[in-house]
């Protein structure tokens, strides 16, 4: 039987379909046209970076954007503007946008396309956002669609929201940056779009809300280790996964600062956020007979597992970084660890709802709404301890004054 011959046909046919489609003329979506080149320009090109051996590895990374890096380092030093004690409505170094074109009478329908609620950070954030919605009687309907962590599903979700046509404003927490850019641009032609958490490569959004950012997070952790680990000490870096900008930027900044300060990064491994993997990685390194003088983490969810790996051997826990996660903070408090908790605060989930109501009233909003991002340190640790909250609660939720606290978050 001539199997091969029989398969040549369909293959040719298909190649034909693909090529034809690539040449199709109809294009109801000019937004796609405009953005593609932009995407290219904005994404750092790995080849464009100098490959000078003098540069730290971090500075050669494709995730290193010098301008953004410098901006974040500057923002860390600036005093945020806005109401005292309410960091979720504060802003740093903001330019404002007129939104009167979108003003419309209440009640409003607010739609939210969420990447996923698949980790404790997002869970706390999502709970906080729902509580914030309850504060606003003007929001008649709040529609939430969850893409379950899939780019393709989120694109389809947004298409469906647009198709149904009953949103006054669209909030997007993108699953990944580049993939969601075309659809966000398309949506921005029809209604105001608020993007938060991760970004998209477009300025078509009404406002983009984010705490200072990943470089600042990574730098905070790195500076702490530089101050607390003897010069030339061995650092292990534990990272969740590659390819996500908010995490990659943390690592780039951490790498740059630690390398330039002469710390010795002996390992950087991906954990996929799994505590068992973290435990195994630390065990592996110690089994190899290497010494660990400091642990740098790109997120706090697994810090406790790393700490336990040292405890299980009766070793002293070296300086370690985490996040504002309750189990880590409590461990830190109980064991008197040398630690720091940089944050990517979950209170940022309140801001998009507040921004939505401002936009629909025609109030001006920051084009890039940069929220403050303060780390948990030895000095303010007590303020961040919540004894009766679950271990995976994030203390910087800004949710203490929201309806249903604390039961809702337990």
């Amino acid at each position: 039987m001539k199997t091969k011959h029989r398969f040549r046909w369909p293959a040719l046919l298909l190649a034909g379909v693909l090529v034809l489609s690539a040449c199709a003329e109809d294009d109801p979506d000019p937004a796609v046209d405009d953005d593609v080149e932009d995407v290219d320009e904005e994404e750092p090109d790995p080849d464009a970076e100098p490959t000078d051996d003098e540069l730290s590895e971090g500075r050669q990374s494709e995730w290193f954007d010098e301008e953004e890096f410098d901006a974040q380092m500057a923002w860390r030093e600036m005093e945020p503007e806005g109401p005292e004690g309410e960091p979720w409505v504060q802003y740093i170094d903001a330019e404002f946008r007129d939104t009167s074109e979108w003003a419309t009478d209440a009640p409003w329908d607010v739609c939210f396309s969420n990447a996923a609620v698949d980790n404790p950070w997002r869970q706390v954030g999502w709970t906080t956002m729902q509580a914030e919605v309850e504060l606003h009687d003007d929001i008649a309907n709040f529609t939430h669609v969850d893409a379950g962590g899939s780019d393709e599903a989120q694109i389809a979700d947004i298409e469906e929201l647009l198709e149904r046509g009953d949103c006054d404003v669209l909030i997007v927490s993108p699953n990944t940056t580049a993939a969601l850019t075309p659809i966000v641009e398309q949506a921005a032609e029809e209604l105001p779009v608020i993007v938060f958490d991760r970004g998209v490569n477009t300025d078509a959004t009404a406002t983009f809300i984010q705490p200072i950012g990943g470089y600042a997070f990574g730098a905070e952790a790195a500076e702490f280790l530089i101050d607390n680990v003897p010069a030339g000490g061995n650092i292990v870096a534990l990272r969740i996964l590659p390819g996500v900008d908010v995490l990659e930027t943390r690592w780039v900044a951490g790498q740059i600062l630690m390398e330039e300060a002469g710390l010795n990064i002996i390992a950087s491994e991906f954990t996929e956020g799994d505590t068992a993997t973290v435990r195994s990685i630390i065990d592996d390194i110690l089994d190899r007979g290497e010494e660990i003088d400091g642990v740098w983490m790109d997120a706090g969810a697994t810090s406790v597992a790393a700490i336990e790996a040292f405890e299980a051997r009766g070793m002293e826990v070296p300086p370690i970084t985490g996040e504002d996660q309750n189990d880590f903070l409590q461990k830190w408090d109980q064991e008197n660890l040398t630690a720091i908790g940089p944050t990517f605060p979950t209170y940022q989930w309140r801001t998009p709802i507040i921004a939505a109501t401002m936009i629909l009233q025609g109030e001006e909003v920051p084009v890039q709404w940069t929220l403050p991002q303060e780390p948990v340190t030895e000095e303010n640790l007590d303020e961040h301890l919540f004894d009766d909250m679950p271990p995976l609660f994030y203390s910087q939720c800004g949710c203490e004054d929201l309806p249903g606290f604390p039961e809702r978050w337990q």
């Binding site: 398969f7 190649a15 379909v17 593609v36 996923a116 379950g148 393709e152 469906e160 580049a178 390819g243």
Partner: protein, 336 residues
Amino acid sequence: MSSPPQERTANPARSLLAKFDLTDMQSGVWLVLLAVMAVGWILAGPNFVGGGNLTNIAVRAVPLGIVAMGQTLVILGGSLDLSVAYLISVVAVLSAFVMDGDPANIPLAIAVGLAVGVGVGLVNGLLVTKGRANPLIATLGTGLVMKGLLSSRFAAQTGSAPREFQLLGYGRVWGFMPLSILLLLAVFAIAWWLTRGTRFGSHLYAVGGSKEIARLSGVRDDRVIIGAHVWCSLTAAMTGLFLVARLGAGAPWIGPDGIYDLESIAAVVVGGTALLGGRGGVPGTLAGALLLAVLDNMFNALQVDGFLKSVLRGVIIIAAVASYALRSKRKDVDIA
């Protein structure tokens, strides 16, 4: 695995019968699809069956539908392919890398993507036939190999699709018909022709029905299975290319994040094709993929929690397959 032995060694007349019997499970799943749409209409309002929403549902079904068209043939032949998810990622990353935003590179990128598909399909097919490896383990293995190679080389989104290629994901013809739906229909048409209009197709059904009997009647079963694997990997490659058009770049996580391995198997079995091979066909799979997309769309319209969606999906998949299995059991009894 669960079916009694008599199903495996069904007489050849049965599998021939099944071949022409378009009224069995396959039309059943289309009826179920209609019923679910009606439920959606009642629960979510008339917009649910409006042209706009129907288009959305169809577009949602495209990536899964294409690869399920390949998975169907493999399953019809009594094999299975768990490597499609990582193959989708590999093709997406490679073709976006080759394209690099330049329209002149599109044909080369497509050729590279499809060639990788053919290569992986050949490896899978050879392992399952000449290597006598259990298909689940063999394709799990090739999937892992691809996963490791991919993530050791590409950590992030790679390359970019030029505007012309993104039209495949977002463009429309005649002002309303998304190109992506035409692509799915084209793949479906080829798969239908392959299964129903060629000798390869009838051999595939024969091999899936009973390898022994097919072999005795002169079918070169190894070639048929290899052919089915090559076609399956080709469809995975096409899904990878489509996703590049849709996402504008190649992302190494795109395949596993979409769970295309298990979801494509689910679409096939929900579409009435027997997991043991020999019975079913691509029209049912098309309905199966559409059904999964309708459910997603409906759950969104009804604001069903994301995790509850997963539960309902699991229940529906099991229930669908159980209903077919029970029906075919009855039929077996009738025939006996």
